[in-house]
């Protein structure tokens, strides 16, 4: 690794690492805008991760695996939304419940199907296809960073762009935003805010399912706890990104970079692995505090 190209591999892996976080944050943006604190991102991702790799191995098709993994995650999201909205439970508690449930269910099923509570390898599972886009490659420096990722990384970019269009350019997006900022107005239009909240949660189920499938399919294995707090990081990214798509992309890139930097540090300097794994959480909490300090002084300034 020569000095001139030093940041390129780091950025390259940052882009790969940020993809699942970005996807989870994309779905979380919908629920956030609809006025709900969605803690369930983590659990929904775990369900997507487990079922996509299991179904991919069972059907022999990556595509079917991803579709069924997403399906499982949406189903879990539906249960989460039904209990939170229709049975009027505290969404923060049901979010915790979803995470706990996902952990329990995946462990019980892994034990039942594979008689194994540890990492489950799927030997003859195909790798996620790597996409090389010719025109992207031609961009100097940036090309090297953006090219050569698996196809789902590019899907994550498409998803956030789609999300931005849906949120800002369609009646549906307007209603989602209205549900969060002024549910009375949505109701006055003869629409049900609860319905749009349900849609928002189902969308988060979709993107988290996809995010989970990246995690397990790029490993070709199911690792218990593979999500490792990414759902929470996604939640923080939504706040740091100021609840807008571009900001979220930047926040996710920062987390991706912090993660790849700590991976690099692990190889380069002799830091214990657990410290390295703690690093993203610490960065996230520091970023969150920094954000609230900035907001604190900004709002105080505007009051004067």
């Amino acid at each position: 690794m020569s000095n001139t190209t030093f940041p390129i591999p780091l950025l390259h892996s940052a882009v790969r690492i940020m993809a699942p976080i970005l996807l989870a944050a994309t779905g979380g943006l919908f629920t956030e805008l609809a006025g709900m604190l969605n803690i369930a991102l983590e659990g929904l991702m775990l369900i997507g991760a487990f079922f996509s790799v299991v179904f991919a191995a069972a059907t022999g098709s990556l595509f079917l695996g991803i579709v069924l993994g997403i399906g499982a995650s949406i189903l879990a999201a539906y249960v989460f939304s039904f209990i939170s909205l229709n049975l009027r439970a505290n969404i923060f508690i049901t979010g915790l419940a979803t995470n706990l449930f996902a952990e329990g269910l995946t462990m019980v099923l892994a034990f039942e199907i594979f008689n194994n509570k540890g990492t489950i390898y799927f030997e003859n599972l195909a790798k996620l296809p790597v996409l090389s886009i010719a025109w992207l490659q031609r961009i100097p420096v940036l090309g090297d960073v953006l090219v050569g990722h698996n196809v789902l990384v590019y899907v994550s970019w498409v998803m956030i762009v789609l999300a931005a269009i849906v949120i800002y350019k369609t009646p549906f997006g307007l209603r989602i935003r209205g549900t969060g900022s002024n549910p009375g107005a949505v109701e006055a239009m003869g629409l049900s805010p609860r319905r749009y909240q349900t849609y928002a949660i189902l969308i988060s189920g979709f993107t988290c399912g996809l995010a989970g499938s990246i995690l397990s399919l790029q490993l070709g294995a199911y690792v218990p706890g593979v999500t490792a707090g990414r759902g929470w990081v996604a939640l923080v990214a939504i706040y740091l990104g100021n609840k807008n798509p571009l900001g979220i992309v930047l926040a996710c890139l920062v987390f991706g970079f912090a993660d790849s930097l700590s991976n690099w540090a692990q190889g380069a300097i002799n830091i214990p692995a657990d410290f390295v794994r703690a690093f993203p959480y610490l960065i996230t909490v520091v970023a969150m505090i920094g954000y609230s300090i900035a907001r604190h002084y900004r709002t105080r300034g505007s009051e004067r």
């Binding site: 049975l87 439970a89 508690i93 049901t94 915790l96 449930f101 329990g104 269910l105 019980v108 604190h296």
Partner: protein, 350 residues
């Protein structure tokens, strides 16, 4: 007034009964699907904890840390501060207690125990209080910051347990054992039940009086009901973003040290095993009432021990308890199940 209180109590008990019934139904359904000998698995899941003194004592023993963490969460929730970092705070408590006790292997029992308990309580209170402080100072959301801090603390504690403090003599990922004189007396052999259950019950009663009968407790409850109103009433509300968190964290740290000195005698990797999370559910079932935390913790311990007995005597895995607990978590705040009284109140408000 009395009639309304009775109706309230009735609807919340029927709601709770329904929640628990649904949780059991789902566990039974899962056993029927997953097990090759469902009758046996179901029998041990429900009756198992009562079949042997060993299981029964262990069930009571499992309830001890849950009482501490449940109380910690109840105090925080009552004051409308959200401590989600219980798992890390408890782990940090266990680790600090271990370090203290390993550093003074020849000290008299009582001195070591007091030092360990104080150290564990302080580290838990510090970690949770930090989140409370960020919230007071800059409005950083407590529930996310406490979770993130705790996630980092868990990994750092893992490092110490498997790294510098690792016991080379043991094949497990654990520290060395603490000296004999620091171990709590076991009161129901052969089970692991130890004397700290008395302390747990006393703390529940003490917390109840603290919340109901003292100045601080009153102001904390007021802030929990309506922070803005409390501000206008002249209560220093900022203070009560930090204090309930610190108390909550202190109880979690305490839980960690008690598990260490009462049950494990050494700090295993991941010694807390979910007591932080389950404390939240325990507090919710107890409706944040410190006295009711005791039966709620016993109930959760029963689920765990039932699943363990079912695993030992049949072909299901212990994580079945997690699913049952998740179902309770899902439904315990569902107002639709807590029926009549709430819906009538809603209509009046609308």
């Amino acid at each position: 007034m009395d009639k309304r209180r009775l109706a309230n109590l009735l609807s919340s008990t029927t709601g709770l009964a329904l929640t628990i019934a649904i949780a059991f139904a789902i566990v039974v359904l899962l056993i029927l699907i997953l097990s090759d000998e469902p009758g046996r698995a179901i029998y041990y899941f429900f009756i198992g904890p009562f079949t042997k003194a060993f299981y029964f004592g262990n069930m009571l023993n499992q309830a001890i840390p849950l009482i501490f963490t449940g109380l910690g969460i109840a105090v925080a929730f009552r004051s409308s501060t959200f401590n989600l970092g219980g798992e890390g705070q408890a782990y940090a408590g266990a680790l600090v207690a271990t370090v203290i006790l390993l550093a003074m292997p020849t000290a008299p029992g009582i001195i070591g125990i007091v030092a360990a308990v104080v150290g564990a309580t302080l580290i838990g209170a510090f970690l949770a209080g930090l989140s409370g402080f960020f919230n007071m100072r800059w409005g950083t959301q407590t529930l996310i910051s406490s979770w993130l801090l705790s996630a980092a603390v868990i990994l750092i504690a893992d490092y110490f347990v498997t790294g510098p403090l690792d016991d080379p003599a043991s094949s497990m990922m654990t520290t060395a054992k603490i000296a004999e004189q620091f171990r709590f007396l076991r009161i129901y052999l052969p089970s692991k039940l130890d004397v700290s259950i008395v302390f747990a019950a006393a703390l529940a009663i003490g917390t109840y009086f603290f919340m109901q009968r003292t100045h601080w407790g009153y102001e904390m409850r007021m802030c929990g009901i309506n922070r803005e109103f409390s501000r206008y009433a002249g209560i220093h509300v900022g203070k009560y973003l930090v204090i309930p968190m610190a108390i909550s964290g202190g109880f979690h740290g305490l839980a960690g040290s008690v598990t260490l000195m009462g049950t494990h005698y050494r700090c295993l990797k991941g010694i807390t095993m979910g007591i932080g999370w389950n404390g939240i559910a325990v507090a919710l079932i107890a409706k944040n009432n410190p006295i009711a935390v005791i039966p709620a913790a016993l109930f959760f311990a029963y689920l765990n021990e039932g699943a363990r007995a079912a695993m030992l005597h049949s072909d299901v895995t212990v994580e079945l308890a997690k699913i049952g607990q998740a179902v309770i978590f899902f439904l315990v705040t569902a107002q639709a199940l807590y029926g009549l009284y709430n819906s009538r109140k809603k209509k009046v408000a609308a």
